[in-house]
Symmetry: C2
Subunit: 216 residues, 2 copies
DNA sequence: TTTTGTATAGGTGATTTTACCTACGCAAAA
DNA sequence: TTTTGCGTAGGTAAAATCACCTATACAAAA
């Protein structure tokens, strides 16, 4: 197998050089380019073939999250390894959402970096253990606040059925037919839902349903 | 400090006994009750004070996820440690969403179990490393499929503005006023969005926006 | 037993959305 | 230069939603 083509994106030259020296010692890898920000790496992606991009998160011009989104849209085959500092939990999450295949900390040693590169190059994910715990913490927090919503609002079984069908993009008439009730009743349930949930219209109902994972 | 009051919920007696013997060897813990399913532990919660519940996920009558939700609603101070087997990724996620403070595998040794109990009793989270990796994988998967949607559909900037306001529960008229355009134009954008996204109505638009994290 | 909650259904009328269609100016791309 | 995409705007008509209201039947809870 030929060398894995690596690109390094970080606004600090020292970081780039550090990573480069780590990788160049290792056979099987070739650093094909480096970039200082998201704009630059996008240009590089057009010019040449790249397998894996090691991407910093916070950068001027275009940050790693935006760059990752754009690159994964245009070149879904390019793998992206997020390079983060500790206490960047939220950013790391966004990198994953944007399409990164994993992350390592900047304090990572050579061994872990190489392992991470190999792993994601094989189309798998790699998540550095050191950051994983704190990310999971972040992950849990919003869920806790969700359940508070549910406490205030008691939605009846029937209303839930109606809401489900609303979320499934049915009209009131279709819902009425489905549930063997009158359109007026569906309308009544709908208005009760609007009032209970505190929504202005269908959009609010759907948002509520999805945010509270009522039908997932 | 007094003993930490533990409850064990699992439908298999052998599992309960195993955990009990692990914990009873350890000073500082007291097992105050055990239950076979969600219904039973709910009754127990009413009867006595409990600090931490070790909760199995799959159980007859009422499973651990439902039980966790109910308990966290009624008794938010009770901590719940999910007890899972491997390859229960989705269930584990749901336990966390339901309000569990952590999880350990059934194959866990005494040392890790005690550590997990201490950690979550101190109002922190504990996530067993062995399951964490696979959970993160699960977490990422839906994001990957999201970007596929985006590829097919190109939403223009203006359409995105309109969609954002739709999601924020504004009427077409309000959107028109906000953007200084005619209602008919808003309507045109809306119809283009419906067509591009493949939605039937507002519900579909909102679902699309939220699922693709267009405005979060 | 009375009250409360839920599901049902209707009246009326205003407002909003949806589904068709056409059309023009402008800028970027082919 | 022609074409394409985008944003703009309108006509018309049907369908759906929303906002008020009232009302009945039934079951569970107080």
């Amino acid at each position: 197998m030929s060398n894995i083509k690596i690109a390094i994106v970080d606004d600090h030259k020292i970081v780039r050089d550090g990573i480069m020296s780590l990788i160049e010692e290792e056979p099987g890898y070739k650093i094909v380019c480096e970039a200082k920000n998201g704009i630059q790496i996008l240009e590089e992606c057009e010019k040449q073939e790249i397998d894996v991009i090691i991407m910093d998160i916070t950068m001027p011009k275009m940050d790693g999250i935006e760059a990752t989104e754009t690159i994964k849209e245009k070149y879904p085959d390019i793998k992206i390894l997020a390079l983060s500092m500790l206490n960047e939990d939220q950013h790391i999450r966004n990198m994953i959402k944007a399409g990164a295949s994993g992350y390592v900390l900047k304090s990572t040693g050579k061994k872990e970096l190489i392992h991470a590169l190999n792993t994601i190059n094989e189309d798998q994910f790699y998540f550095s253990d050191e950051a994983t715990q704190s990310i999971l913490h972040e992950l849990v927090k919003p869920e806790v606040s969700k359940s508070k919503h549910n406490q205030n609002v008691h939605i009846t079984d029937r209303e839930l059925e109606v809401l489900k069908l609303i979320v499934e993009e049915h009209t009131n008439q279709e819902i009425a037919d489905e549930l063997y009730i009158s359109v007026r009743t569906v309308d009544a349930h709908r208005r009760n839902l609007l009032q209970k949930i505190g929504a202005k219209n269908t959009a609010g109902l759907v948002k509520y349903a999805l945010k509270n994972n009522l039908f997932s």
